[in-house]
């Protein structure tokens, strides 16, 4: 109960700061939209191109939102205060992860709406697409939260974050694309649900423990 109170308080704090500052979502959404438009021009805006373009745009745009919470803590010198509160330091991971999940879901919803307009993409099986979006957001947030903490005190950490984040999340990108294609065309999804779920589970299991090590003095 106490852990839940801590996690929700931390997530609420991150979302409130984002709402007031708009320094992660707005740049990420603008960049994602730019990627959609550019790739739409390159591939001619055909509906078949919509799934890879959507998830690639989300992946690239999410890089901009990943480290913002950690950067804020750095700028304000608040991380030390956070880690010295009573309670498990793993709660800090879950709080950041939850806030990032909400941000990525909002970002994904916006980009999905844009690609429907730009690519005339089919919108059937929206429940399945929502579930894919949720699992993608969960996985990307777990990796992003962990990497941002690991690189927080590393010189040039902001440059290293995308270099580590993009290759690590390739399974999420592939699963997102294949599952979206399967949902919109009605073809079998193959092993991709399992791949996506396993990826999420792995990072949700190892993330909190490694995060705790990363924030220790």
């Amino acid at each position: 109960m106490r852990a839940w109170r801590r996690v929700t308080a931390l997530a609420r704090k991150d979302l409130l700061l984002e709402w007031r500052g708009r320094d992660a979502l707005v740049p990420a959404a603008s960049f994602g939209l730019a990627v959609l438009v550019v790739l739409g021009l390159v591939w001619g805006g055909s509906p078949e191109a919509a799934p890879p373009v959507l998830w690639l745009a989300l992946l690239l745009a999410s890089v901009l939102a990943m480290g913002r919470s950690a950067e804020r803590e750095d700028e304000e010198g608040t991380l030390e205060v956070l880690v010295l509160y009573p309670g498990s330091r793993e709660d800090l991971f879950w709080g950041r992860w939850l806030a990032l999940c909400v941000l990525l879901l909002a970002l994904g919803a916006g980009l999905w709406a844009a690609q429907v307009l730009l690519f005339n993409a089919p919108t059937r099986n929206s429940t399945t697409l929502l579930l894919v979006g949720l699992l993608v957001a969960v996985g990307l947030s777990a990796v992003g939260t962990l990497l941002a903490a690991l690189l927080q005190h590393v010189r040039a950490g902001r440059l290293l974050l995308p270099l580590l984040f993009l290759p690590t999340t390739v399974p999420v990108l592939l699963a997102g694309v294949r599952l979206t294609e399967a949902a919109t065309s009605g073809t079998p999804a193959g092993p991709w649900w399992g791949v996506l779920a396993a990826f999420d589970l792995l990072f949700l299991l190892v993330g909190p423990g490694l995060f705790e090590v990363a924030v220790e003095g």
């Binding site: 109170r5 308080a9 700061l17 007031r20 804020r72 205060v81 010295l84 309670g87 220790e216």
Partner: protein, 223 residues
């Protein structure tokens, strides 16, 4: 055997690469007392406080806070200990009230106490303003309110008087006194001995990472 004193350090040391920040520091602070930690810049005061607060691991020696080892039982230490460092550690994008509500949620205290504490530290008129509009002294007062909220058994203060006016300094004194009266212990690092006057029961001086006793200094129950 677990030490019974609220704060005990034995042979504590910390290196940052080749730099020795703290070397073989041993002392104890008894119940209901305050240890004043002095020494020039870079003498290891902040490093010592951060180790006791579990923000930093020692590279040698051991320390206990309320009988809990600061390395192996850090989570228990954090239950009983509060630390105020050089940074106030408050969010500029939140209001004063929101910062304290967050603190209440994180340390498991009732949110109902927050308005009373805002008033106690004299920030009531600015409670609904973003902290980014606060002065340094107001931020420090907010940080003090967080310590009042935590109500620790062991209080670790690093230059708590910086940026505070006389009313703010009175709040520091009130906080230290309340911890002492409840049988807790305080370690106070400051260069401002005038403002700390009457608060401390013993003085320990650090020089180049080592605990020394200068003339006229009272040992803080050295082991």
């Amino acid at each position: 055997m677990q030490p019974l004193d609220p704060v005990t350090a034995e042979g504590l040391g910390r290196r940052f690469g080749a730099v020795v920040a703290l070397e073989d520091v041993s002392f104890r602070v008894r119940e209901g007392s305050c240890l004043l930690l002095t020494g020039p810049n870079g003498s290891g005061k902040t490093t010592l406080l951060r180790i006791l607060a579990t923000a930093l691991r020692p590279t040698r020696g051991r320390a206990w806070v309320c009988g809990h080892d600061v390395v192996s039982e850090g989570h228990r230490v954090r239950e009983v200990c509060a630390y105020l460092g050089a940074s106030s550690g408050v969010y500029g994008g939140l209001t004063g009230l929101e910062n304290l509500q967050l603190a209440a949620d994180l340390c498991g205290r009732p949110r109902e106490r927050v308005p009373e504490l805002v008033e106690r530290v004299g920030l009531q008129p600015a409670a609904h303003r973003l902290v980014s509009t606060y002065s340094l002294g107001m931020r420090r007062r907010l940080a003090l309110a967080r310590l009042f909220l935590q109500g620790p058994q062991v209080l670790l203060l690093d230059e708590p008087f910086v940026g505070l006016d006389s009313e703010g300094a009175r709040l520091v004194r009130e906080l230290v006194s309340s911890v002492k009266e409840q049988g807790g212990a305080v370690v106070l690092a400051t260069h401002d001995r005038d403002r700390a006057g009457g608060l401390y029961d013993a003085v320990a001086e650090l020089q180049a990472g080592q605990l020394v006793q200068g003339p006229g200094l009272v040992a803080a129950g050295r082991i």
